[in-house]
Point group: C2
Chain length 275, copies 2
């Protein structure tokens, strides 16, 4: 029997004792010297990071933009295949943030779930329910919807007060929890830079998984993030770190530095949780 995304994620949390997710944002300008000469440098770098950090994470999140900008879709396919085959107990989230009308969303769902065979994909809610539905038609896959993002401009729209007196991002959280999540397949993206807002979202969405970017290079506070984001069982989070782990060292020790950064981040998350 195939596990659903939520079941697979819960298994990963239990088995790895980690709610850390490593984001794979490969930037060739920052690759270490012993990798950057390779024709498949993007794949080789990411695979090395995956192997160095797999012990400390509940999953990986490749950011497709970094592959697309470098004409490296074939390397992303190979990387996803490698993660699935080598670490089948970890979740694979494709960070794509797609959003388009139904017929086009069907194509993007095929891209994420058939071509790259991700367990879940990130999507944008601006175009409404029928732009999300084609992803939900894959019953064993997860659909993680942007709610409150960790970047400075995130407030431009997301913090606008709607007529019912709550900001747009909480309206999105409620809409997803109450209307879109009928199959239990949804998650939400909520940035770590605003722990109070993570708590507001958690209060409205029950046990729903939250993908929380913004710790590490983006400056989010781990302690406050975990207190705000955990569910009743002390789980419910994919706390993402990308650059702080990928580029922890520019020296020859980059693999070990990535492993250490991942372990330290996992431990900092777990230190806030009940043993």
């Amino acid at each position: 029997m195939t596990l659903t995304f939520t079941q697979k994620l819960e298994n990963a949390w239990n088995r790895t004792n980690s709610q850390l997710m490593v984001g794979l944002d490969p930037d060739p300008a920052r690759f270490p010297p012993d990798i950057q000469w390779r024709a498949d440098a993007v794949y080789a770098f990411c695979r090395a990071i995956v192997d160095a950090t797999a012990e400390y994470v509940c999953g990986f999140k490749p950011q497709i933009a970094y592959f697309a900008a470098h004409r490296a879709e074939d390397q992303l396919e190979a990387l996803c295949r490698y993660i699935r085959q080598t670490y089948p107990h970890l979740v694979l989230v494709l960070d794509a943030k797609r959003g388009d009308i139904g017929a086009t969303a069907q194509q993007y769902a095929r891209e994420a779930f058939e071509r790259y065979q991700a367990d879940a994909v990130t999507v944008n809610p601006y175009m409404g329910f029928d732009s999300i539905q084609p992803y939900l038609e894959f019953p064993e896959k997860g659909t993680i919807i942007l709610c409150r993002t960790s970047n400075p401009g995130g407030s431009d729209l997301q913090f606008l007060k709607t007529a019912d007196g709550i900001p747009l991002y909480l309206h999105v959280a409620q809409m997803v929890a109450n209307k879109w999540n009928t199959g239990g397949q949804c998650g939400l993206v909520v940035g770590a830079t605003y722990p109070d807002e993570i708590a507001q979202v958690r209060a409205r969405v029950g046990e729903m998984p939250l993908l929380i970017p913004g710790i590490g290079a983006q400056g989010g506070d781990i302690d406050a993030t975990v207190r705000a984001g955990r569910n009743h069982r002390g789980q419910g989070m994919m706390i993402n770190s990308s650059r702080a782990i990928l580029y922890a060292s520019t020296g020859e020790d980059w693999r070990e530095a990535a492993a250490q950064a991942a372990r330290a981040t996992r431990d900092a998350i777990n230190a806030v949780l009940p043993a």
Copy 2:
């Protein structure tokens, strides 16, 4: 001297006397029999549509999802190159609807403007200004922001009343016109299914170009759309039709049927405008 996107678009309107844009959404399941056996069927089909309709349009809009789902990025590159070289006076809009934090948006901007060398790209406003800025750093390129979309779920968020009493999509229109468009590089996506709302947007954005999908297969009314969307000079629109032109006939006459559908749509648009 390189023309800006807006200048190139105005030249295209003047030279072609057309505000029709043909959307390239290649669906292999709907390809005609004389094309579908080819290894490069996606490219061959789109190129034939481009050649059949180029006389009647101001530009082309490939939808990247259809290429990505079929592992056909190389064919999209070849198609963009063919359009640029063969019809350099027409505009090339990459329909990607990307939206992500600044560092990632830089990668998506490179994808659109360096890899595919599009004249403009569609983007999603949900993540705010710093998710748009990396596109604006290409001064000769256009950035076309989702405002009001033509799909049924478009109302889920876009029609929410904000605290200042106007719906979210008008807030986006005002924000783009008053704050984001300082370099004159922005356009807006406004669906043809709601002509009254196109008029509301036009009233707030001056001469800004509007990309208007939703006529043809999606049912928008051409007459009402043109009356609502035209600017003071009777221009200002890229009225997009995709499926109604691409799949106008499933018989051997598919090229001629596409050409006829494009000509008829252009003529229907022009019939509403002053001669």
